[in-house]
């Protein structure tokens, strides 16, 4: 294996990893605040893809408008889901909320199956994201360059919101104790709605980037990215947004390396991603950026 191929595989790994990271950030944020593993996160990704698809291919909007509208609409869907499905269970046991999340996931998948049908649709990729750059034989697809940048930008914005704004402070406080925060006069439901809005906004964003990289979308497409993002979030230390980004990178790179180094095992690369996860958790059960309960989360 020569240097060009090694570099190429590294580029492939980083670009895949940044995509996983982007999905994982939203995933982990919802968990960090309300301790709910939102299994519907991958499906909100899918909702975002279909909204953007509808905007471009059926309403003929310019791509940036379609993307923005899709993300806003998905944020709204996230808030509605919280209000309808999760809010009544706020004080119920955690397992009830988890099962509800799975129910929401099935509901979204099947309603989109009814609306859009099961045949995969071709996602229209704007030309800005379509091409590739060749540097000394190493190919950088445009989307592979843009994704890590976007992931970084949104990670920064999210950290800013969490640490520098009043609502962010409320979110961090909520992750410790609902009742005390409520007594302090914070509108808990409003803050949780904001968490879901941000989480779903990020899910739609990552969904759109996913669809631009792999432009075949179907209503069940969110399942696998959802699982991978879950693995990334747990690996990074669930609840930590920085950890989620790092976890995403690690899983992406390790997947590509499995295929590159052991081509005959490539069919089992998902197994390797999860094996890796189990291995890390054996030694560091709280994940890489594992939460330190004394010092706070995120």
């Amino acid at each position: 294996m020569n240097l060009t191929i090694v570099l190429q595989q590294l580029v492939n790994g980083i670009s895949l990893g940044s995509l996983y990271g982007l999905v994982a950030i939203g995933y982990t944020m919802v968990y960090g605040v309300i301790r709910l593993i939102n299994f519907a996160h991958g499906d909100i990704m899918m909702v975002g893809m279909y909204f953007a698809f509808t905007g471009i291919a059926m309403l003929f909007l310019p791509w940036w408008a379609a993307f923005l509208l899709s993300m806003l609409a998905s944020a709204l869907v996230g808030v509605i889901i919280d209000r309808v499905a999760y809010k009544p269970l706020r004080n119920a046991s955690r397992i009830s909320a988890l099962i509800t999340a799975i129910g929401v996931s099935f509901f979204l998948e099947n309603s989109f199956l009814v609306i859009y049908g099961g045949v995969p649709k071709a996602f229209p990729v704007p030309s800005v994201f379509g091409g590739a750059i060749n540097i000394h034989g190493v190919i950088f697809p445009n989307i592979a360059i843009i994704t890590p940048i976007v992931a970084m930008i949104f990670l920064m914005i999210l950290l800013f919101i969490l640490h520098k704004t009043k609502y962010g402070m409320a979110m961090r406080a909520l992750s410790f104790d609902f009742e005390t925060v409520r007594i302090m006069g914070v509108n808990v439901d409003l803050v949780i709605s904001m968490v879901f809005a941000i989480g779903s906004f990020l899910a739609a964003l990552s969904g759109i980037f996913w669809a631009m990289r792999y432009p075949a979308i179907n209503p069940l497409i969110g399942i696998m990215p959802g699982l991978k993002a879950f693995a990334a979030a747990v690996l990074g230390g669930i609840g930590s947004v920085t950890g989620a980004a790092i976890g995403g990178f690690i899983i992406g790179i390790s997947e590509i390396l499995v295929v590159a180094l052991f081509p005959s095992l490539a069919g089992y690369k998902d197994a390797f991603a999860f094996l890796f996860l189990i291995f890390v958790l054996l030694f560091k059960p709280t994940g890489i950026m594992g939460e330190d309960l004394e010092r706070g989360r995120f």
Binding site: G118, P120, P263, S264, G267
Partner: protein, 377 residues
């Protein structure tokens, strides 16, 4: 009020008659197809073909209606096994058409075999599907033949000396067809320079593509399904891999062109049927009715679905029509001889249950599937 009552009674009487009529004169046939999921385009095409075939021949001998019960297997093995079980034990069907992919069909086949219910698949091409089974048959050719046709085309027409092969590890169809191709290609003096693996849910092929690129094959053979092939082609072209891509019958769906766009231009594949190479009078009639009903020419999946239906109905008729027993239906499916179907003349080998028939080569040209040639067995 009185009028309402009397009309209600009339409706009830009519309903009872209808129910009786349908109970008396019905042959139930189960259909298991992927209507959703990764290979949904195939299931939906096949269903269109089967429904049209049913409208052309809705009744068996003695005037019994063929009642089709469709279950969606989502393109998943477990769902297929469940669907076959349900059709046999709950619905008491006398025969089953399905499934589409080899892996799915192989998941359902042992259950049909155990209950002695004939199962005819329209398009599962892996040889293992019918191997050692008495009740499983198919309306299509098998992969050793298909792989050899592709290898011959690559060696003799494209003058390829080296090839890279992309194998979808968890699909028996892909594994079987890839090995058939590799064997035939080597026999013809070709060399396989790279064998790469991936799995059904994969969407990222950048690692495999980078490896293939370093080995400079003359062609890439990817026996997989339309979505995987389209995504692979897009990424391959993006990474500067310009070699021709060859595929099997799993490539043929409109979605391939829609998703692949310019990247699948020139993609060549072996398949079962081309509307421009109409083989029998039934083909001509079927194409005409299909275009009238759906507005597009039929693809291979639709044509094969129809053939599975026609072969089954013929077998039911020979087995006695209304009261045909599953055992007898199975006997006559397996003894189908020189049947002039939609995809050509079909003979099923009574020993193996495999159809012996010719293959067609098609390619993508200007965003459309075009006919290249027909290869006889």
């Amino acid at each position: 009020m009185k009028r309402l009552l009397s009309s209600l009674v009339a409706v009830l009487v009519a309903l009872t008659f209808l129910a009786n009529a349908s109970l008396a004169g019905e042959v139930k046939v189960g259909v298991v197809l992927p209507m959703t999921g990764l290979v949904a385009a195939f299931g939906q095409s096949a269903w269109k073909g089967i429904k049209l075939a049913q409208s052309m021949e809705p009744k068996t001998k003695n005037g019994c209606k063929v009642k089709l019960i469709l279950l969606d297997n989502k393109g998943m093995k477990v769902e297929t096994a469940n669907a076959v079980s349900k059709l046999i034990t709950d619905n008491h069907v006398r025969a089953i058409i399905g499934a589409i992919t080899s892996s799915d069909t192989m998941a359902g086949a042992p259950i049909a075999e155990k209950h002695h219910i004939p199962m005819i698949t329209s398009s599962a091409t892996n040889p293992l599907v019918t191997k050692g089974k008495k009740y499983i048959s198919r309306a299509c050719f098998i992969d050793p033949f298909q792989g050899a046709v592709a290898a011959k085309y690559a060696r003799n027409k494209l003058h390829a000396k080296t090839a890279a092969v992309m194998i979808e590890r968890d699909q028996d169809y892909s594994v079987g067809l890839a090995h058939a191709f590799i064997k035939a290609f080597k026999k013809l003096g070709g060399k396989i320079v790279a064998v790469e693996f991936f799995q059904s849910t994969d969407q990222d092929y950048s690692a495999q593509i980078s490896d293939i690129k370093a080995k400079h094959p003359d062609i890439i053979y990817m026996p997989s399904y339309y979505q995987e092939i389209a995504l692979f082609a897009r990424q391959a072209r993006q990474y500067g891999l310009k070699q021709p891509i060859l595929a099997g019958d799993g490539a043929e769906a409109e979605a391939l062109i829609k998703i692949g766009g310019k990247a699948v231009e020139g993609l060549t594949f072996t398949t079962h049927f081309d509307p421009h190479a109409a083989a029998t009078p039934l083909t001509v009639k079927f194409i005409k009715l299909y275009e009238k009903k759906y507005g597009t020419p039929p693809d291979a999946m639709a044509a094969l679905g129809a053939d599975a239906y026609f072969i089954l109905v013929q077998a039911i008729n020979k087995a006695g029509g209304c009261n045909a027993k599953p055992e007898k239906i199975n006997y006559y499916i397996r003894h189908t001889k020189n049947f002039k179907g939609v995809t050509g003349t079909i003979t099923i080998d009574p020993k193996t249950g495999n159809a012996i028939k010719s293959a067609v080569i098609r390619k993508v040209k200007n965003g459309k599937f075009v006919y290249v040639t027909t290869v006889n067995p």
